[in-house]
């Protein structure tokens, strides 16, 4: 167990926890798995790429704008397609998010083509490699992603606990009818949840695009991260963080010591194990199980 392995696990876990938090926030609000999360990840990165026309030197502004844009897109998606489906069975809503994902992917491929893009290069920024003690090496973007993940997740947890709107979001998620009777605008709260989820996924997407490359296929990273909230508990952000470390560790070990082909299936084995043993994940709220 060397330092490089630890570094890789931490970086991957940061990525997974950002995307996983997105799944958790949406699940708490709408009781639905947003299978379009990967596409939101990809879309944010493409927004950044599109904004690079503003010229060099404005990277922080572009990052902010890209995140705001993707949050707006998520809010619009919620308002236009998920809100009208209140009351429909969960299966239908999930399938609806899949349909949306397909549309978003198709539109992105049409607008930006499938060619691999390198946003940092366009801006003239190089992604230097930092050499850490004990022989580990990560890039600036990877380190930044870990920092961003810590800040974002910490910020979200604090926001939900302390801010007034955050408390309203929690209330709406827990008991929508009661919350709305108490004067909370639950649809606004849900839209905000979706927007926050998109920001989390967006940060992950920006990090990925800057570190590796930007192409439509990166949306698949979202599906890869699905194991994390399922293992950690769909209602618990903390559980997601713990699970992300677990899943990242298993994947890295599988690639190192077993077959790289196996690494893609490892998350699914983890999902199955949890469904059999503890379906609501590590820290999720226990839900009624039908024992047959």
């Amino acid at each position: 167990m060397d330092a490089q392995l630890v570094a890789q696990v931490v970086v991957l876990a940061a990525f997974y926890s950002l995307v996983g938090t997105g799944y958790v926030l949406v699940y708490r609000a709408s009781r639905v798995l947003n299978l379009a999360n990967g596409e939101l990840l990809m879309l944010c990165a493409y927004f950044l790429f599109a904004l690079t026309v503003l010229g060099r030197g404005l990277l922080p502004l572009m990052v902010l704008l890209a995140l705001v844009l993707v949050a707006v897109v998520a809010g619009v998606i919620y308002w236009a397609t998920i809100r009208p489906m209140t009351g429909h069975p969960v299966f239908s809503i999930v399938l609806m998010t899949v349909g949306l994902a397909i549309v978003l992917r198709g539109v992105s491929e049409l607008v930006w083509t499938a060619q691999a893009r390198y946003p940092l290069e366009v801006l003239g920024i190089t992604n230097k490699t930092l050499h850490l003690p004990a022989g580990a090496a990560v890039t600036v973007v990877e380190a930044g992603a870990v920092a961003a993940a810590v800040l974002f997740i910490g910020g979200v947890i604090a926001f939900l606990r302390l801010a007034r709107i955050g408390m309203q979001m929690r209330a709406s998620a827990e008991h929508p009818v009661l919350a709305s009777q108490r004067g909370v605008n639950i649809h606004l709260a849900f839209a905000l949840s979706w927007a926050l989820a998109a920001i989390g996924a967006g940060i992950a997407g920006l990090a990925f695009a800057a570190n590796v490359r930007l192409e439509p296929n990166i949306a698949e990273q979202g599906l890869r991260a699905l194991a994390v909230p399922l293992a950690g508990g769909l209602t618990s952000i903390l559980g997601t963080v713990i699970a992300s470390l677990m899943v990242a560790m298993s994947e890295n070990l599988a690639v190192r010591y077993a077959d790289p082909l196996l690494a893609g299936v490892v998350p699914y084995f983890i999902i199955l194990a949890f469904i059999i043993l503890r379906p609501w994940g590590l820290l999720g709220e226990e839900e009624e199980l039908e024992r047959v």
Binding site: L33, G99, I102, L104, V107, I271, L272, L289
Partner: protein
């Protein structure tokens, strides 16, 4: 269902028949004639398209039985379809056995066994978790198939020879048409009878309120697992037939997108309806070709013509979203509305209480 006519059954036999009215019998006869004669007037390509629809019908029926009638959630279709295709591939490659009917039967058996496996989580969880566990099982099955393909079968995929029945070899679109048409028709008839039988009624009871169903004496374990078994066997059968039709099996085909396509078929067509499965299968299968058609008869910028695959994807996703927003009960509900309009005219609605 609204009915303005005073049509009454006069015998038990008539009440139990699948095609109970004279009109239905005549319509069925006309349909059969039309279907049988179509290859004589259609072009090769059009016949090929209908062949694809016939295969899709098999898959759509399997999904609707499980999701529409039995109310279980499953995202594992592609894994079972792959199981069928790879059983055929395995038998062709390893056992050098390619007789059509036994291979398809074997594929169905494999599908049934896997179906029990995929169905086991349904005894413990419902809803979202069930969906995710079936998705996980799909990933595992596809991984197994991929390992087989790359280690033993050859990375390029496995070629499946044409099916032969004695001296007759099925290698033209028209010959496939008749084979697939017969298979699809028989399967549809079997499914119609299945849902009208005790099993089908039990499934619908489980779908509507499973606790009450259990209280009424329906053993949940048996019927839930039966739903998964039958549906998976049918899906694997469809996969094997598809492998023969394409002549080729390769793991890349069995992606999550394939599952989404078949789910879209039953949602667009109508959950819990045999007719819905048929309609949905035809609509979703033909949709990309309709888009292709539209793009070529209207003046479209060249960039869009090259990227027609993206347009087809957008249309596909758009159809799913539109169906959910506009008519969640699918094309069948639309059809019912059209039928009621004509049956009740000049009235707009039927006062409830009268049949």
């Amino acid at each position: 269902m609204a009915s303005g006519s005073g049509y009454f059954y006069t015998s038990y036999r008539q009440a139990l028949a699948v095609f109970d009215t004279a009109f239905k019998k005549q319509a069925l006869f006309a349909l059969a004639i039309a279907v049988a004669l179509f290859p004589l007037v259609g072009s090769n390509f059009q016949v090929h398209l209908v062949n694809l629809c016939f295969i899709a019908v098999l898959g759509a029926l399997s999904q609707n039985l499980l999701i529409g009638y039995a109310g279980q959630v499953s995202l594992g279709f592609a894994g079972l379809f792959a199981a069928g295709g790879f059983t055929a591939a395995l038998m062709v490659k390893e056992l050098e056995f390619s007789a059509f009917i036994p291979v398809v039967a074997a594929a169905s058996a494999v599908g049934a066994v896997l179906g029990v496996l995929v169905g086991l989580p349904s005894l413990r969880v419902k809803g979202l978790y069930l969906a995710v566990s079936t998705l996980a099982l799909h990933a595992v099955i596809v991984y197994g198939a991929s390992e087989y393909q790359h280690r033993l079968g050859g990375s390029a995929g496995i070629v499946i020879p044409k099916p032969s029945f004695g001296p007759l070899i099925i290698d033209s679109d028209r010959e496939w048409y008749y084979l697939l048409g017969v298979v699809a028709a028989l399967t549809t008839l079997a499914c119609i009878n299945l849902v009208r039988s005790r099993v089908g009624r039990a499934w619908q009871a489980i779908r509507d309120r499973d606790i009450v169903a259990e209280a009424c004496g329906i053993p949940l374990v048996r019927y839930k697992l039966l739903a998964f078994t039958v549906s998976s066997a049918l899906a694997a059968m469809a996969g094997a037939i598809d492998a023969y039709h394409a002549g080729f099996v390769s793991v890349e085909k069995y992606s999550f997108l394939l599952t989404v396509q078949y789910l879209a078929m039953i949602v667009v067509g109508g959950l819990g309806s045999i007719l819905g499965s048929l309609l949905g299968a035809f609509v979703i299968t033909l949709l990309p070709f309709v888009i292709d058609f539209i793009v070529h008869i209207f003046p479209t910028p060249e960039r869009l013509v090259i990227n027609i695959l993206q347009l087809q994807r957008i249309a596909f996703g758009g159809v799913i979203v539109a169906v959910f927003l506009l008519e969640p009960r699918g094309l069948v509900a639309l059809w019912e509305r059209v039928k009621s309009f004509f049956q009740l005219w000049p009235f707009k609605f039927m006062v409830s209480g009268l049949r």
